[in-house]
């Protein structure tokens, strides 16, 4: 890996002109199947390049084409235009069909992240079955977030960039219906009435019983 240190060699060479930078980025993105971050792109370009500007030009150039430049989290990738998917059925990747439980669990993680297993169970009203989390981890659609700083310090889950890429989202903020759900208060963690515990105890209750409070008495 070449390490560029702009401080060391200030202006030995001028950066290539913008159209040339655009060509270079086009080639780099074209060669990679996975999205590349701005940092990764910069590392591969000659010194002094400004990928952000060239990327904006490139994105405009590909807009409306059969291939588009898309943003995935902090990264960029070239992808075929969604309206042409039907033409490309021969390239279709058959993935293991996800169970309803797995899809719901994924949605809950995406909309409530970071979320603990107990919280997922509380929302679905059933235990998360073996293999569900496993499968989502394996697909690399979810990963571990920070542990919750409550007693028991439960593990949390968040969605990944691969998730964004797979579902064609620029960022987790672009999840469909996110704003409406938030406005309707459906993403709040609302403690059940009567559980007037100290916040810590409450979290512990939620985290450790792994049971919906519906079933507590």
């Amino acid at each position: 890996m070449t390490s560029h240190n702009p401080e060391e060699t200030p202006a030995l060479f001028d950066p290539p002109p913008l159209p040339e930078q655009e060509r270079m980025i086009e080639a780099i993105l074209f060669a990679s199947a996975a999205p590349l971050s701005l940092k990764q792109i910069t590392e591969r370009l000659p010194q002094g390049c400004d990928p952000a500007e060239a990327l904006a030009h490139l994105r405009a150039r590909y807009s409306g084409r059969g291939v588009n430049l898309v943003r995935v989290g902090d990264a960029y990738a070239l992808r075929t235009a969604p309206d042409l998917g039907w033409l490309l059925q021969s390239e279709r990747v058959e993935t293991r069909k996800l169970s309803r439980a797995a899809i719901e669990t994924l949605a809950i993680i995406a909309y409530h992240q970071p979320v603990t297993r107990a919280e997922i169970e509380e929302i679905r009203g059933v235990a998360v079955s073996r293999g569900t989390i496993d499968q989502l981890l394996e697909l690399e659609w979810i990963r571990l977030g920070r542990r919750r700083m409550t007693p028991g310090r439960p593990v949390t889950f968040v969605v990944t960039e691969e998730f964004l890429d797979h579902f064609g989202l620029e960022s987790a903020r672009d999840l469909p219906g996110l704003k409406e759900l938030r406005e309707a208060g459906l993403l709040e963690s609302r403690p059940p009435p009567g559980q007037l515990l100290a916040p810590d105890e409450e979290a512990e209750f939620a985290a450790q019983t792994g049971q919906s409070e519906l079933f507590e008495d």
Partner: protein, 263 residues
């Protein structure tokens, strides 16, 4: 869904059996009581925010009753929910007791309605997510990522799941070991023997076995029992070697030991 149960003539065994099967299928099709409640709530055909929780509780209880009458095995959480809903129903029907400190029936009902609404919302967005233009289904990546030249760099692949599975494998194997000295409440025999051997030279007078238990192993019953067993076994070994003498005034009386004279 359970509406026409009463019409079913139970004398008609075929019809009854068919009906019972339908109910089994229905129960099996639900992912827990909350899911069942959500399905029942649809029959009210109103916004979940304006749902009648009382009516819903009655529907659920009727459903469970039918299942019981047909001797259908219900998972415990369905029954727990039934008990809770029966309780909620009574809270909703009875005038609030001013002495009562718990949450009101209305509060409990509101929370249940919130849970149902949230579950339904998650279902809807899950469907919307799956309906997006998915990579590999509607949108495609470069079919031939350029495998270009030179600078061979080996990129070792290992994902988080590999890491966790490896650790799980190791730790599971550990749990199958025939003995487990790494359990924190076990005081090993070897440790007792070593400790006792060091203390024996000073034991010129009869002293009770208890007093030889190490610090920190005299309190909690589990730990004391383990330390006692190990220390006792160690005294037998030392007695066998002729290093100590043991004395007990009667059965189950405290055991005393001292260094054997002449040692």
């Amino acid at each position: 869904m359970s509406g026409d149960w009463d019409e079913t003539s139970m004398s008609d065994s075929t019809a009854a059996r068919r009906a019972a099967e339908a109910l089994i299928v229905d129960v099996a099709g639900f992912e827990g009581p909350l899911d069942l409640l959500l399905a029942l709530s649809r029959s009210q055909k109103v916004d979940l925010r304006r749902i009648s929780v009382l009516h819903l509780a009655e529907q659920y209880l009727a459903f469970i009753e039918e299942a019981r009458a047909l001797r259908i095995e219900l998972a415990a959480d369905y029954l727990v929910m039934a008990a809770w809903l029966a309780y909620l129903k009574s809270r909703l029907l009875l005038p609030p007791d001013p002495q009562d400190e718990g949450p009101s029936g209305a509060e409990l009902a509101a929370h249940l309605a919130f849970q149902l609404e949230r579950l339904q919302a998650m279902r809807k967005v899950a469907a919307r997510l799956m309906g997006r233009d998915l990579k590999g289904r509607d949108v495609f990546v470069r079919g031939a990522p350029t495998p270009l030249a030179l600078k061979r760099k080996v990129d070792y692949q290992a994902s988080l799941i590999d890491l966790m599975r490896a650790y799980a494998r190791l730790r599971t194997r550990d749990e199958f070991r025939p003995y487990a000295f790494d359990r924190s409440d076990i005081y090993p025999y070897e440790a007792a023997l070593e400790r006792l051997s060091q203390l024996i030279p000073a034991a010129t007078d009869w002293t009770s076995l208890q007093s030889y238990l190490p610090e920190g192993w005299r309190g909690a019953p589990g730990r004391r029992r383990s330390a006692m067993a190990s220390t006792f076994a160690a005294t037998l070994e030392l007695a066998k070697q002729g290093q100590i003498e043991l004395r007990q005034s009667e059965s189950f009386a405290p055991l005393h030991l001292r260094r054997r004279s002449g040692q």
